[in-house]
Homo-oligomer: 343 residues x 2
């Protein structure tokens, strides 16, 4: 079974290749009968146009790329779903590009641009320590979504990029503020040890302590080793177990993701203590599980669907050379649930 080409279809139908091309691409100037015959033949012989050849020739490809830092993270679930739907509604294709922990998202994006002639790119996750000079080499418009702190300024006539995200530092600060307001003086903090997201969260944590006149104690900070799959329940569980065993004094645990918080809750429960009576637990990011866990978990609900929606809209605005808001910072919502209480 060999790959059949447009030439052979043309021969089969006794027409020229351009006629076949016209049939495929719904050009108007073609005899309906000829077109039908060609389409039938295509179906019969299972001809599929070679997209490499198409892309080589075409200037546009109607493809949007989503570049995701660690796609296996359950956090992206809904967002992916929304992006997929929105892009399809606009009759575009979506290609997903995973970025492993040790890969550079900008380099991958640069590749994609050439390779797939994508019309636009959405970055999901990462984008904290990117090389701006490399990023500027991107010709197509892009949106940094649900992560990152900033985008490069525009230099050309049209805006080329935008940021749609939450402000991690401020959000985390507000959570710690809340926990302080509950009367906690010693808040254990489970964060990522990297210099990107983890650093932002930590800054928020520190700022809040300072504001609330509390002392910062390095012993309360648990830094998850950067490496693959940080945001797992298991990780939250294990480090909380160690924390509990260590004998360090604290009354509350704040984890920067809900999955980590779930692990923390279970670790507390398994140690024979109760949440929130013995230890309070708070998470962040607002995944479903925080709402349905028992006890339900106090969290910062990030507007993930909104971010996804707005990212797509903004990207298409960029593509269509409309004016856009360069930096959209969407606020999260602190949701008090059963896992925390006033002391």
């Amino acid at each position: 079974m060999e790959q059949i080409t447009i030439k052979e279809v043309a021969k089969l139908c006794g027409v020229g290749v351009s006629t076949v091309s016209r049939a495929i691409n719904n050009h108007p100037d073609i005899n309906p009968e000829t077109k039908q015959k060609i389409l039938d033949t295509i179906r019969e012989y299972n001809y599929v146009p070679n997209n490499s050849a198409r892309n080589l020739k075409r200037t546009d490809s109607n493809t949007i790329a989503v570049v995701i830092k660690e796609i296996s993270n359950s956090y992206w679930g809904v967002m992916l779903h929304v992006l997929e739907r929105e892009v399809r509604d606009r009759k575009y294709c979506l290609v997903l590009q995973n970025v492993a922990d040790d890969e550079d998202e900008v380099e991958l994006a640069l590749q994609l641009e050439k390779e797939k002639k994508v019309k636009g790119i959405i970055f999901l996750g990462g984008m904290y320590n990117y090389d701006e000079s490399r990023l500027r080499m991107l010709i197509v418009p892009y949106v940094i979504s649900g992560s990152g702190k900033t985008v490069p300024e525009d230099t050309g006539t049209y805006p080329k990029s935008a940021l749609v995200t939450t402000d991690t530092e401020i959000e985390s600060q507000s959570m710690v503020d809340y926990l302080c307001s509950c009367g906690h003086k010693r808040i254990a903090f489970i964060t990522s040890g990297d210099e990107g997201l983890g650093r932002c969260h930590l800054n928020g944590y520190k700022r809040s302590l300072e504001k609330n006149g509390l002392e910062y104690d390095e012993k309360l900070i648990i830094r998850l080793k950067p490496g693959k799959r940080i945001y797992t329940i298991e990780n939250g569980y294990n480090c909380t177990c160690e924390l509990l065993k260590s004998g360090v004094d604290f009354s509350c645990i704040y984890a920067i993701s809900d999955t980590l918080a779930v692990g923390a809750c279970r670790a507390v429960i398994d140690s024979g203590k109760r949440v929130p009576e013995d230890y309070c637990v708070a998470g962040a990011d607002g995944q479903d599980i925080a709402e349905y866990y028992h006890p339900s978990i106090t969290t910062l609900k990030y507007p993930r669907v909104e971010i996804a929606l707005q990212s797509v809209r903004t990207l298409f605005d960029l593509i269509n050379r409309k004016k856009v808001v360069k930096r959209q910072i969407l606020g999260g919502t602190l949701i008090e649930r059963e896992s925390t209480r006033k002391l």
Copy 2:
């Protein structure tokens, strides 16, 4: 900032295009100095080869495609992670193709084959009601992984496809057997309303009831509407709430995914009842949350990592024309946890 081509690089360096090509592709027959100079120029001008042109010319592309039914499902998380790593270790690239609920995975695979010249395909999810004649049109080897019931027989000299999965029907049957052995006579069943996976689970459920001499009652069956995002906690929660309100008599709920089971647990808890004292709950698929939920949830642990690993291995065996086991059915493990008890 225009896209620079190989021709311009050649001109810039005062060499022919083939020399540049040799430099890029690490061909041996090139003067190291020339090569260095070319590489420097490439770096300076940020030249990225056009992959469409490359793929057009090349016969191989070193790309593996993973075609996933509903990528937003958290179930795929680890598997995606493993696949990504394994494929990278073998110096191949991975492209992810989402299949929406209303799309046909085989058609998309056919497209991918042409478009990206992929060397092999792994199907994740779906593949229950595929059109075998279309599937046979795939030229590259493929593995149906973690889903599906069967693969087409081989016709050529070399095997072209394989199946690596669990037997849903048998697994579900064993879970219901277990629940019966606990003394449950009326087991509510939350399943997917589709004719694929949902049907397999239901068959297992029915078979078990029959075997255990219990009556099948349609009122106990909750069929989730096919449509997007079936396996959400929220879905499990909502339908359990309705079930509880309906007044139908039952002592146990079995849901075909752990996320659904989590929702069921919370619904029971919110109704003022306890798990497992008032209602037992069992899930299936073995996601982390089942282990860490409170109460932890009895489930069927599918060997997801094993399936992913074995799928990659098998795919590369197919690619390298080695003999493979056509149908690898890996068994799940029933894990008794806190959410069920003997009556």
